[in-house]
Symmetry: C2
Subunit: 352 residues, 2 copies
């Protein structure tokens, strides 16, 4: 059932105020706002109703009201006013972006740091492959007489390599052959498609270097698995300690303990695939410990069969309007940068 306009107005005012002050808000302070043409008594009545409808909560009799999760949900979905970035903001945002992104280094972590800095909250950045990853190309390079380098180019345009010491004498010719066999039989296969059947076929035709096949396969599978996984970078957790809701150390500790990369990795499971920016309010998502917490996240374009996502974790009470605005702006420009500069995609980060 729809809320009356007046109720909406009041609910919005309450959430706004609570977001600013982190204090329960009372009828009087609402009535005192310009633009509120009702007496505090009227507002009290409305607030009582909003409470019984589940949009507000009362920490105790005779304290002000606090938005409930449902209240927040309604707020972000319908009530929230758009936040317009000021010129200053867009400028400093652009600057930061330009400055950091020129740099080499692990892009995904740079992005994460930037978002955290920008919002003054913990932030994360994720790069995950769209669809299944396969190997596009193998190269075996003789390094020294007793070792060679295995280089794998994946469908996500990532290059991974490994220095392998030879267990036996193998000539450059033998490696060439093996390389050809690999490229013929093992490319374009996803990790699930690498069956024992495929394996034995390769081994049979690999010639003198057949003994290397298991090592190579192991590494290949590892690379594919790793590439298939999302690359998660989380930073700025400490910023939560600045928020009034985490002045209690044990609460803070509990939250910070669950707030790790692994937890973030589960987030994509809950998001709906169509919407761009998404807000998860409190108990809506996975971990119990996050019940006073919200997550704002948005996608960005990253190219090369990869998908990017950035997000911010904060108290349910955070400034959704502002955060959402900044995040979307950031994501947009990030997409532009990736398109324009042909930056190395984060998938090229390697761990071996």
């Amino acid at each position: 059932m729809e809320l009356s306009e007046r109720k909406k107005k009041i609910l919005r005012a309450i959430v706004d105020s609570y977001i600013r002050t982190a204090e329960p808000v009372g009828s009087k302070s609402i009535a005192a706002m310009p633009d509120m043409n009702f007496s505090s008594a009227t507002i009290r009545n409305e607030m009582a109703e909003l409470t019984s409808m589940g949009y507000l909560e009362q920490p105790h009799t005779s304290a002000g009201r606090v938005p409930s999760p449902a209240g927040y949900r309604l707020y972000v979905d319908e009530l929230m006013r758009n936040y317009r970035l000021s010129i200053d903001e867009t400028q400093s945002l652009n600057q930061a972006l330009e400055a950091k992104m020129q740099d080499f280094g692990d892009v995904i972590s740079q992005v994460g740091k930037l978002v955290s800095q920008l919002t003054n909250l913990p932030a994360y950045a994720v790069a995950s492959p769209q669809g299944k990853v396969s190997v596009k190309r193998f190269d075996l390079i003789m390094a020294e007489s007793n070792s060679f380098i295995l280089v794998i180019l994946t469908s996500t345009e990532a290059v991974q390599n490994k220095l392998i010491r030879l267990p036996l004498e193998v000539s450059e010719q033998d490696l060439k052959l093996l390389s050809a066999v690999l490229n013929a039989s093992l490319t374009d296969l996803t990790v699930d498609e690498i069956t024992s059947e495929v394996l034995s076929r390769i081994t049979r035709s690999a010639g003198p270097a057949a003994s290397l096949v298991p090592i190579i396969i192991e590494f290949t599978v590892h690379v594919l698995q790793e590439q298939q996984h999302s690359d998660v970078y989380l930073t700025g957790q400490v910023k939560l300690l600045g928020q009034p809701e985490y002045q209690d150390v044990s609460k803070a500790k509990q939250l910070l303990s669950t707030l790790d990369e692994e937890m973030i990795a589960h987030l994509p499971e809950v998001i709906s695939p169509d919407s761009k920016t998404q807000i998860l309010v409190g108990p809506e998502h996975i971990a119990q410990e996050l019940k006073d917490t919200s997550v704002v996240m948005t996608r960005f374009d990253i190219g090369d069969g990869m998908q990017g996502m950035i997000g911010v974790v904060g108290p349910t009470r955070m400034d959704y309007a502002q955060i959402t605005a900044r995040l979307s702006y950031f994501a947009e420009n990030l997409g532009r940068l990736f398109g324009k500069h042909e930056l190395p995609p984060p998938s090229q980060k390697e761990e071996e």
Copy 2:
């Protein structure tokens, strides 16, 4: 001037007790210990002297005594009893080590996590190159018609690579030539030795592919700089919140804000090059914010021109004996593992 045996005994008892309980310790509780054949009054006198000598401090008149930094220093240098690892401990330590280290992936971060888990404190792991890093070998691999892969093998045995799109048509022959030139002129040079003179020489002899030289050089320099840098991994910061000294959020926040990778990177500067395990007590080191904090660190062998270091950050009040013992044991076995299994050294971690 030397302390009397009795003073040492008392000081040791006080530090031991304070480490266990985090409470100021009074004369009575010391006197009550078995093995203390003096009355509380005697101990009071001794404590008064120890205090005026600077080894103890009093939070306020009529509280117990607390070790001062000087007191800790003396304790770790002379008084501390060796902690013997129990069979159980060595076993679970070995197990954890075996289990984690089999795994591929970024070794340095695995080590860090393990140490943190093992000590229940924030821990870090660092891999830094011994001496100057240079390039050992270049390879240029034609990938597709319009791009190639640049592979660099450094003196730290790290393999780094980058997919480079060709700005113009270049034949495989041209790349071969360029590769030969690079290997002839640019190997074994440290980053400082890559002068503009060297550059122009290379460019002159590079043939049709000369236009690629700047890109390659840029990447090379970047790789060398990155390899020259220590690779730092820090984890488990949140564990500090479990310690009684950080129940005050603002203190905790302050500390956690300074405790980042960058801070850790400065640690090696303060350690003396000869000793293996080292303990930094409170104000002895860099940052003001760390004054109630200690660091225990130790080296480990990592091979391939790299040096490893692991360390633990904790309250000054931490159990030095235990931590030191575990850390050294860990470091030893780590060294053994690196030697034995020929694990990929952490320097092979790559970020591009």
